[in-house]
């Protein structure tokens, strides 16, 4: 099943779908369409996402996700909370890579106050950021297998992810919700023995990546299920604001860790940004697999060069952020997550616009699911990799 053959086949499918939707439904065969609700309680969605799909036989004529089942109203809640309370709240948006949610918010507040975390805090922040990326994306690699029917990868993912979560819990106290970031630095320093433990865990993670690559990515059935499915051209990806691995899989060489100067330690490690020209489901999964390997290398290099010094900048106990507006976005595991913080100089932010990655990543699904088979809905959703908390905020 070379990808060209599947591309022709894909164009042919799109033609059939167009036919079906135009002629309303195939009248001679008297087949009347079927509206299938996939979700909100459905194994294929990472949480409560509902997809309304109108089918003609096994082919999707029209599909549209309807979200909002997980809407907790974060932007309204941030208006009545102080800055430490918002950090505790905000790491529940993308609950798999939760330390990565706190960082852009704290950076925005620090930019408003005009202070910077000391080098040691920046270093440890970047290490924990990459650890939460590994925890998030390694679960994706396992879950990818389950969506396509293979049961074993997900157990491998959970087994190796456990080590990373134990590391995060050892350092911050919380496995899923570390709440370790403070304006001006971190709450505490690393516990003793953290560095060598992390180095051992990174080795385990690398051989987990090799195992997943052998078990899943090399598998011809997996490739025939994902190559040429859900192709997103570059300009459509940019227009919809896709970000992270979904964008890099369509050939856009853009990574926020490298292309903007943030008070973090990414520029102290040399690492490579992976892209893939095809833009199909296989490309997205492949780019994420390489990114996990790249993260383990980043963490290894950063572990070598942690500067010594204070963990917290000179910050008053009660923090009043001066008036102003700031936008900071970082390369979160799911894509670009950004906070537009408007402050009027009192204890909490006046307005926080939370730009989460999965909201844009999923807004392309109606365009993408035209003329696609039912099992491919699951493949495309698995490759786009969203988390419900990220979509619904």
């Amino acid at each position: 099943m070379t990808s060209t053959e599947s591309l022709i086949d894909r164009r042919q499918m799109a033609y059939i779908a167009a036919q079906a939707s135009d002629a309303r439904l195939n009248v001679e065969l008297e087949t009347e369409g079927m509206t299938l609700n996939i979700g909100p309680q459905h194994p294929a969605t990472h949480g409560t996402l509902r997809i309304i799909a109108r089918l003609d036989g096994e082919q999707v004529v029209w599909a549209e996700p309807s979200c909002g089942y997980m809407h907790r109203g974060y932007e309204k809640l941030t208006e009545v909370r102080t800055y430490p309370q918002v950090t505790a709240l905000v790491n529940r948006i993308d609950w798999l890579g939760s330390f990565a949610n706190e960082v852009p918010f704290i950076l925005a507040a620090e930019k408003l106050m005009g202070i910077e975390a000391p080098p040691r805090a920046q270093h440890i922040r970047t290490i924990l950021f990459e650890l939460s990326r590994i925890a998030n994306v390694s679960l994706f690699l396992g879950d990818l297998g389950v969506q396509l029917g293979a049961i074993t990868p997900v157990f491998m993912a959970f087994r190796d992810r456990e080590y990373v979560l134990n590391l995060i819990e050892g350092a911050t106290g919380g496995r899923f919700h570390p709440n370790f970031d403070r304006i001006g630095g971190l709450k505490d320093d690393l516990p003793a023995g953290f560095v060598d433990e992390t180095r051992a865990v990174m080795k385990k993670l690398r051989n987990f990546c090799d195992e997943i690559e052998n078990l899943l990515f090399g598998n011809e059935i997996f490739q025939s299920r994902t190559r040429g499915i859900g192709v997103i051209p570059k300009d459509v990806a940019l227009q919809y604001g896709l970000s992270g691995a979904n964008l890099r899989a369509s050939g856009v060489d853009w990574d926020l860790r490298r292309d903007q100067s943030l008070p973090m330690a990414w520029n102290k490690a040399d690492w490579k940004v992976w892209t893939h020209p095809d833009g199909d489901s296989f490309a997205r999964c492949w780019v994420r697999l390489q990114e996990v390997r790249e993260s383990t290398r980043i963490v290894d290099q950063l572990l070598e060069s942690i500067p010594s010094g204070p963990i917290m900048a000179k910050v008053p106990r009660i923090i009043k952020v001066p008036e102003g507006e700031a936008w900071v976005s970082t390369e979160n595991p799911l894509g670009e997550m950004g906070y537009y913080v408007v402050s009027k100089g009192d204890l909490g932010p006046f307005r926080t616009k939370i730009r989460s990655a999965s909201f844009n990543n999923i807004s392309i699904v109606p365009w993408l699911l035209k003329g696609v088979y039912v099992p491919d809905i699951v493949t495309i959703l698995a490759s786009l990799y969203f988390i419900l908390g990220d979509i619904d905020r």
């Binding site: 809407h71 109203g73 930019k111 408007v342 844009n360």
Partner: protein
């Protein structure tokens, strides 16, 4: 990095000044106000009727191909405060002057959007006022197809209409939900229902001596 040295000293951030000048060249006086923080970010405010025109210029002429987000800001301070007032005492008066943020503005509601260039790695925050009587703005969908969901969310959260939007249904809230939650005059019920445990009720010393030792 973003040291807030007085703007005059550092030579202006040429990249972002170039953006503002380019926009002024294309939009003329529709570009009302702009603010450049050197090495940090650039804010631009356009006239309300030039909202879609600004998007078209940014995307086709100036190469900002990446659509980041579209949202809105309600500048009126909330009449309810943080829900932490002591119900027994009279509600403290709050200043309800409306002060807009960067790049000014007159009205209470203001559109806020951000687009980035995926090649030059620089972003622009675009703002425009939304009049209080007829809160309607042109939709960005013909220029950025990704704006569809963002505009639906802004519509249901702020009540701003979008001319030219194919189906302006609620994206998060149930269809029969009235009111626009992110407006500041919409009460946050979670904080209304329960009295705040932080209200101090340590009774004064028995025996009624006069000093009012109520710990703040």
């Amino acid at each position: 990095m973003s040291s807030d040295a007085p703007v005059a000293e550092i030579p202006g951030d040429l990249l972002r000044e170039g953006i503002v000048d380019g926009l002024r060249a294309h939009l003329g006086e529709a570009l009302l106000d702009s603010l450049v923080k050197p090495g940090d970010d650039v804010w631009v405010r356009v006239r309300t009727d030039a909202w879609r025109e600004a998007a078209r210029v940014l995307r086709h002429e100036m190469g900002f191909d990446y659509f980041c987000f579209v949202s809105a800001v309600d500048w009126m301070p909330s009449p309810y405060g943080k829900g932490e007032d002591d119900p027994t005492e009279p509600t403290p008066e709050r200043d309800d002057t409306i002060r807009q943020g960067y790049a000014g503005g007159e009205t209470r509601l203001q559109m806020l959007a951000r687009v980035t260039s995926s090649t030059r790695h620089v972003g622009v925050n675009v703002k425009c006022d939304v009049s209080d009587e007829t809160p309607v703005v042109e939709s960005w969908i013909p220029v950025y197809a990704g704006a569809n969901w963002h505009e639906r969310e802004t519509h249901e959260m702020f009540g701003i209409g979008f001319a030219g939007h194919p189906d302006l249904r609620n994206i998060y809230l149930p269809t029969e939900f009235e009111g626009h939650p992110l407006r500041k005059d919409y009460p946050l019920l979670a904080r209304m229902v329960k009295p705040w445990p932080g209200i101090v009720d340590v009774e004064p010393l028995p025996g009624g001596d006069d000093e009012e030792g109520d710990a703040e």
